[in-house]
Structures are given as structure tokens and as C-alpha cells.
């Protein structure tokens, strides 16, 4: 099992990495013991976005498909969770609402991905098609302010946003529900992120992952090695988009609120910025980099939102010019060189 976590598609295949990983995990687990409830909830909020970034890393960094549609799937699952949580009666049914909401995002990705990939849409046009779908959804939801726009008792509310859904509850053994908020939500999100991260490591280092990076490098050569590249790309697109859906459902559950602004153009550009800055071709770089960039952005926004946006733009510009593979990847490479010098690292070749 441990062996399958390491491979050519991930950085950090050595003992020092996993020791560092264990230390960071322990610190994350201990964080609620030393921080106040607001800060813990805030970190949970930032971790929620990381799923979407990981999904984009998978689609774009590993698969070579630049999708502008992450917030499309985020929105489908976010609104889906709201509608389902209200209609199913809230409480323990919110867990089912979350699962169905993510499945709806995956289904939407299956349909959209099928038409894109089987339709032979390639390169920059995939970005245009996915961005169009995102903008259509955002504009559609924006004009749902009237009372006629509802699903059962769930009002969509246009740009004012949808509200009134319960936060995520987990059914407990004595027929009661544990409502996830603050520290408990933090731990659930952290556990989910850990599972998703480790699962993705196994996935990208598997035989399937081998084919995915081969398609990114040269799709025709991959097909001439006997792989139906369309099926591989579609599976990748669905998984990456479903992760955006997971972000969306968790986001709505966290704030019990969602608006079309979470889907529209500025929101749709953000995952691209996080992933490009972090290093799109590696899930570890994306996970750490996206979290750090969210943290930086939020910290700066307290002082000035405009200054935060300008600084984000500058960071992206510097990254593209100085470290086109991504800031975190460059840091990782420097660390690897250092480790090689002291003889601690061994290149992995499973």
C-alpha cells in the first residue's frame, strides 16, 4: 500500500518527505487545541477550496486539459446540496444531500466531458467551452430572484443567494445527529482531504496515471500504444470535476449559503491562479500552494481587498516568468537537490 503512494507522478517519494508529512499532519490535528473556534472554522473554510484545486491539478496538470469549469461543478454541487438539504428535511439527511450533490456534479462532468472529448474539442477551445458553461450557469442562477424559481421549498434567490439549508450532519449511533461545525467540521474536512490526497497519489502513480501523463505528452502516441485516450480523459475530467463538486457542497454546508458570485468569471479564474502558482503538475504542490495562497489572500484582504488582488496578480506574474512550473514545484526541486547532496533521497522507480 505504502509503495503505491509513491511513483514518478508525485514529488516526495522519500522518507524525509513522509516524515515532514507526518509532522504537518500532527500539527494540523493539534491546531484546534491551540486556536480559537473562529480560526479553526476559518482554516476549515480554506481547506474546503483545496479539493477544487486538486481536481484542477488532475485535469490540467496531469491530463493537459485546461478546464475553466471548476466553479461550474462547484456551483452544481453547492446549489445541489442546498436544494437537497432543504427538500430532504435537513438533519441527518444532509449527508445524503452531500453525496447526491457531488454525484450530480460528476454526472454533469460526464455529459459535458463526453461532448467535449468525443466531439474532438481540443486545446484552448476546451477552456472556452467550459468557461461558457460556467458563465451560463452563473447568469442563469443570477436571474432566479423571483419566487417562481424554487425547487420544493428551496428558493434560489438570484444574486441574493440561496440560504436556509442545514449544515452537514452525521447520523450517530443513538439515532441522534452530530452537526458538523467549528472543530468537528474542521476534523471531517481534514480527514476528507487526507483521504482524497492519498487516494489521488495512488491514482496518479497507478497504470491509469501512467496513461494520463502519456496522453498529456503526446495523445497520438498514447493511442498508438493501444489506449482509447478519450475514455481516459473522460474519467480524469469526471474525477477532477467531482472534486470541485465536493468543494461546492462542503462550502454551502460550511456557510449555509451560496450565491452565483461563487461561480462567475472572477471565481472561475481563481482555481487557475492557485494551481498555476502552486505547480499544476503535482498534487502535493497544488495542495500546499493553494492553501498558502488562500491564507495569504485572506490575510491581505483584511487590510485591503484591492491590494490583495494586485499582489495576487504580481505573484502569478512573477511565478510565470521566474518559475513556470510553479512556485511550490521550484521549492520542491531545490529541496530535492539539497537532499541529494546529503544523500538522503533516492529517485523512485517502481
Amino acid at each position: 500500500m505504502f509503495k503505491s503512494l509513491n511513483g514518478p507522478q508525485t514529488i516526495g517519494n522519500n522518507r524525509p518527505f513522509w516524515i515532514g508529512f507526518g509532522v504537518v499532519l500532527a500539527l494540523m490535528l493539534a491546531y484546534p487545541l491551540v486556536a480559537d473556534a473562529y480560526s479553526v472554522g476559518n482554516v476549515a473554510y480554506m481547506l474546503i477550496w483545496v479539493f477544487m484545486a486538486l481536481g484542477l491539478s488532475l485535469i490540467w496538470g496531469y491530463g493537459g486539459i485546461l478546464s475553466f469549469g471548476q466553479t461550474f461543478f462547484f456551483g452544481i454541487a453547492g446549489y445541489g446540496y442546498g436544494v437537497l438539504a432543504i427538500n430532504l428535511g435537513g438533519g441527518g439527511m444532509t449527508l445524503l444531500a452531500l453525496v447526491i450533490a457531488v454525484a450530480l456534479a460528476a454526472l454533469a462532468a460526464l455529459v459535458l466531458g463526453y461532448f467535449i472529448i468525443w466531439g474532438g474539442v481540443g486545446g484552448v477551445f476546451i477552456g472556452i467551452v467550459t468557461l461558457s458553461a460556467t458563465l451560463v450557469l452563473a447568469f442563469f442562477l443570477g436571474q432566479t430572484a423571483g419566487p417562481e424559481w424554487h425547487v420544493g421549498p428551496a428558493r434560489l434567490n438570484g444574486y441574493n443567494g440561496m440560504k436556509g439549508m442545514d449544515g452537514l450532519n452525521i447520523p450517530w449511533f443513538d439515532d441522534s445527529n452530530v452537526e458538523l461545525e467549528g472543530v468537528s467540521l474542521y476534523y471531517v474536512v481534514l480527514l476528507l482531504l487526507l483521504l482524497v490526497y492519498l487516494g489521488l497519489r495512488v491514482f496518479v502513480n497507478s497504470r491509469f496515471g501512467n496513461v494520463i501523463v502519456a496522453i498529456r505528452e503526446d495523445a497520438q502516441r498514447a493511442e498508438l500504444l493501444g489506449y482509447d485516450t478519450r475514455k481516459y480523459q473522460l474519467v480524469l475530467f469526471v474525477i477532477g470535476s467531482a472534486l470541485a463538486g465536493l468543494s461546492g457542497a462542503l462550502y454551502t454546508s460550511w456557510g449555509q449559503f451560496i450565491t452565483p458570485a461563487s461561480i462567475g468569471l472572477p471565481a472561475a479564474a481563481m482555481p487557475i491562479v492557485w494551481v498555476a502558482f502552486s505547480g499544476r503538475s503535482d498534487i502535493t504542490a497544488t495542495m500546499i500552494g493553494s492553501f498558502l495562497i488562500l491564507l495569504t489572500f485572506q490575510t491581505l484582504t483584511v487590510y485591503s481587498q484591492q491590494a490583495a488582488l494586485v499582489l495576487m496578480g504580481a505573484m502569478l506574474l512573477v511565478t510565470v516568468l521566474a518559475a513556470p512550473q510553479g512556485f511550490m514545484i521550484s521549492v520542491s526541486r531545490a529541496a530535492t537537490r539539497l537532499l541529494r547532496r546529503v544523500g538522503a533521497d533516492r529517485p523512485s522507480r517502481p
Partner: protein, 239 residues
């Protein structure tokens, strides 16, 4: 011997240009068949039609008894066809061993994948370069790697488009030996080449293409002595 590949009246038209016209090619199982002809004769286009990266304007392709004309390239590869392209087509950013693994993982179980990889690396004389990105190999080494990837699929028929381009005479001879070794194990080989010494080394049957049409065909010794073939190589026929 039974035939493994037959193209019938195969045509490919690009705009107003006929790249391949009415080509009937028959390849017998187990033979090494060479396709020769001047530049622009349609050899590479014919390969692309056979493997499915180009769709024919008309005509049919039968491989191993099945009409594969409408099949996608991956389906043809799965049914036992393999190709080495004209320009080295390897995954340049990926290490050499991973290039081979992507081809090998089709039919080699995970437990013996590393062992099979090492065997192929040794066979291709690339053991020392196994961790290098494939794009950093020399041109000749990239050719070998791609040949290795094509052979790793354990095909019944391999199409090789100029497998020795850019190789030294020594490397060219070794490539010929490699092809003959796999041929002795039952692999059918169709090769496009310009190097006559190499063709003499490996081929028994030759088809000559000229202006997209079959110009001549027959045993290698007859083709070499055919004055018309010498003429088209020297550019006299249409002068």
C-alpha cells in the same frame, strides 16, 4: 504462408493532391517487407492509413482477416498492429523506463513489470539512460526507444517508418539484427527505408511506391536489378 495485411485499391486525397492511389499491398505473415520509393512517394501516408491516423478516401484495409478500415488506431493496435513513426515519437518529458512501462503495462502483470522493463532496457542498450527524460536522448537512442515501445506491445505486425534515420552505420546494423531477431520469433515487419544496405540486410520482399502508386514489387534481388527502379531514384522517369 498466409497474408496478414492486405490493402485494396487504397486511396488518400489531400485537397487536389493524390497522396496514395489504388495501392494494393499484400504482406505475408512472418515476412520482412520493405516499402521503398523517392521522397513524396506516399510511403508514410500509406503507413498512416494502415495504422488509422489517416482515414482513406476510398479502399479497404484487412488485417489478420478482419476489415479494419473504419477502426480507430487504438483498436488496430489492440488487435496486433504496432508502429514506429518517421520522426521519433516518444514521451519526451517522461523518463526512459516510464516510456517503456507505458507500452509494457498492457500485457505484463505488475509483479514482473520491473523485470521486463530491465530486459527491454538492456536489449535496447539504454540501461545507463533509464532515468533520463526521453527527450534528452540522442536521436538514434530515441529511435531505439520508440522501436522498443512498439515491440513491447508484442504485436503480430510492426510498421517501421525509417527506423534507422539519423543512426550511425553501426547502430543501423544493430537495428537490422534486432528486427531480424524479432522476425525469427514470428513477427511480421513492414519497413519504409531509404538505406539500401539496410534493406539488403533485412528484406526479402520489396514494394516500390512512386507518385502514390505501386511502381514495382517482388523479391529484393529482382527489385535492385530493375533498371526502372534505379531510374526513379535518380529522377529520370518523370524528367
Amino acid at each position: 504462408m498466409s497474408e496478414i495485411l492486405r490493402t485494396s485499391a487504397l486511396c488518400k486525397r489531400f485537397g487536389g493532391h493524390d497522396a496514395v492511389t489504388d495501392v494494393d499491398l499484400i504482406v505475408e505473415r512472418g515476412e520482412i517487407h520493405c516499402l521503398i520509393g523517392p521522397n513524396g512517394a506516399g510511403k508514410s501516408t500509406l503507413f498512416k492509413l494502415i495504422v488509422g491516423t489517416h482515414i482513406p478516401t476510398s479502399g479497404s484495409i484487412v488485417f489478420d482477416g478482419h476489415d479494419v478500415t473504419g477502426q480507430r488506431p487504438y483498436e488496430r493496435v489492440k488487435s496486433g498492429m504496432s508502429i514506429k513513426m518517421q520522426t521519433p515519437s516518444v514521451f519526451r518529458e517522461l523518463p526512459v523506463w516510464q516510456n517503456l512501462q507505458i507500452a509494457l503495462q498492457h500485457h505484463v502483470p505488475p509483479a514482473s513489470l520491473a523485470q521486463e522493463q530491465d530486459r527491454m532496457l538492456e536489449l535496447l542498450d539504454l540501461s545507463a539512460q533509464h532515468a533520463k527524460p526521453a527527450g534528452e536522448l540522442s536521436h538514434g537512442q530515441q529511435q531505439w526507444l520508440e522501436i522498443g515501445m512498439a515491440l513491447a506491445l508484442k504485436p503480430a505486425l510492426i510498421l517501421m517508418d525509417e527506423p534507422t534515420a539519423g543512426m550511425s552505420p553501426d547502430e543501423t546494423f544493430k537495428t537490422g539484427e534486432l528486427i531480424q531477431r524479432f522476425n525469427a520469433q514470428g513477427l511480421t515487419v513492414v519497413v519504409v527505408e531509404h538505406d539500401m544496405a539496410f534493406i539488403r540486410q533485412i528484406a526479402k520482399q520489396v514494394t516500390v511506391l512512386h507518385y502514390g502508386k505501386v511502381f514495382a514489387r517482388g523479391p529484393i534481388d529482382d527489385i535492385i536489378q530493375d533498371p526502372r527502379v534505379a531510374e526513379i531514384y535518380l529522377g529520370k522517369t518523370h524528367a
